[in-house]
Assembly symmetry: C2
Homo-oligomer: 160 residues x 2
């Protein structure tokens, strides 16, 4: 199972791992997980039957969520790699979304496991721009572009 | 309670009312509801405690979902009004999302009821462009722009 491989989100600091989309500590969340595959990043996700839009197709808000969290995860992985670090060996940076753009190219069939692939377009200071595709059965159904912004170190940490 | 007022989504055809975001027939869904308020449209939504991003703030994917479904609902209401119809008196058109853009201006506090306001920027053939703001406690936290596309009549209806 490729999905048991370590993901960027496994290394988020505990106080920053509650995200509904990708937080490993959010019991009600989607548990989106992303990892390197060469110079790209990959995320696999199995929508639930209730994640429907028009019957038979995947809800666009879920697609936006997958692109969003996969992109902030990619930004974290890319920033760490840019600094010469590896997940698990150095503190994982944490990014939030500055802007999110999704083009829905065709309806995404509800049933197959979805694959989201990310590429780093630009790293500039605290910003990382990530482009991505979302595919079902090998067909690209949506494209995304996210501007991710690193949060300051210590943000979200318990006070005192 | 203003939220008991009829919403565009109340009038979607039964076979098109399963959307996870705004379908009244999706038992697991968010039940996003939108209505006219003058020349704007409005949606109010109370996030659940688990709809978190960084602790204390609302998950961006939920914000994207709210903007998405409120905009397709607004497009439906606007198209109907453009044709001289009223919700409940004529079949409600149904729009899907062609593209979705969200600017996250500041973290959205998790706790207050959110208010999404939509404006119709353009109606052109089967496309309606909707801009929107998402506010918490009167402060705009995100802006959206959605290109909504009307689905053909009969799409999603039972075959035969």
């Amino acid at each position: 199972m490729t999905t048991s491989m370590p993901a960027f989100q496994d290394f988020y600091a505990e106080e920053l791992a509650q995200c509904y989309g990708c937080g490993r500590l959010n019991q009600d969340g989607l548990h989106i997980r992303s990892r390197w595959e060469g110079d790209e990043t990959i995320c696999e996700f199995q929508p639930r039957s209730y994640h429907t839009a028009i019957p038979g197709f995947v809800y666009g808000g879920l697609i936006a969520s997958l692109i969003d969290c996969h992109s902030t995860g990619t930004a974290a992985g890319a920033a760490l790699r840019h600094r010469g670090g590896q997940p698990g060996e150095a503190p994982m940076p944490r990014f939030v979304t500055g802007s999110l753009h999704v083009e829905f190219l065709r309806p995404t069939p509800l049933g197959p496991r979805l694959e989201i692939r990310g590429k780093v377009k630009e790293i500039k200071g605290r910003k990382v721009v990530v482009t991505s595709t979302l595919s079902a059965d090998g067909v690209v159904c949506a494209r995304g572009e996210v501007v991710a912004v690193e949060i300051p170190e210590g943000f979200g940490a318990p006070a005192g």
